[in-house]
Symmetry: C2
Subunit: 146 residues, 2 copies
């Protein structure tokens, strides 16, 4: 299992112990859309993994501090989501019809850092962009209704 080694390196490089929970959480989030702590916990729990919800909270927090995960506020439901931090820069499109989360490869932000610096004296470190609208499936369904 190649991911196992990748995860173990990620952890040891940052002076984190290679524990069962941390590797399980990384396995769930790798190649997944952003998940809530409860979703991560439930996924593992249903797979008969024994672990505690508060440990998942602590794990996500630690992995975020170390830059392995990223905490995102995509929705207004008051629940935080975590995603595997990819080296590539990705944004999301969220469907208002079915809440599907679609990763977007392109970035609309462009060279805006320069404007932020010259106009506002602001030194940009990162940005989040979320795009809301309707996905292909929902557009099709709406058309079928008519």
């Amino acid at each position: 299992m190649p991911d196992q080694n990748e995860f173990e390196n990620l952890l040891t490089n940052r002076n984190l112990k290679r524990t069962k929970t941390r590797i399980l959480v990384l396995e769930v989030l790798k190649d997944s859309s952003p998940k809530t702590v409860d979703e991560i916990f439930s996924t593992l729990y249903q797979n008969h993994m024994k672990l505690s919800l508060s440990t998942v909270y602590r794990t996500c927090e630690t992995l975020t501090e170390k830059g392995i995960l990223s905490k995102v506020n995509l929705t207004d439901d008051g629940v935080a989501r975590y995603e595997y931090m990819k080296s590539e820069h990705t944004h999301h499109a969220i469907c208002l019809g079915c809440n599907k989360i679609i990763p977007i490869d392109d970035c609309p932000y462009g060279q805006f850092d320069q404007i932020m610096k010259s106009k506002y004296g602001f030194d940009v470190k990162s940005h989040h962009i979320e795009i809301y609208g309707y996905c292909q499936d929902c557009i099709r369904k709406r058309e079928e209704k008519e």
Copy 2:
């Protein structure tokens, strides 16, 4: 007080009663950066206005449903913020040093809707952009330290 009338029209146009709490909440948020429910409540409470926290929650929710306010998740602190919905399109820069929220007039998004449509078949209705970094004040303070 011209705002009073503006607010009353906003409410009556949407079949909402013109109540004291609603007008007070709108007064606080108009021309303000996004505030948490507790900040809105405290501001009014300190001005000797008698009202209940749960009413402020309900008011913000109602005004958001009617498109008068907008609920935003700018920070990772797990607390929702509301802002007065401006007709102009505004984004925010959030300072990682002092948490100051700076409104940004320009929009880096440009004509990205077209790419979303052609590449993802996604029909964009809105977008949120948050920019994180360091404001002028924090940059200056950091330089002084050195």
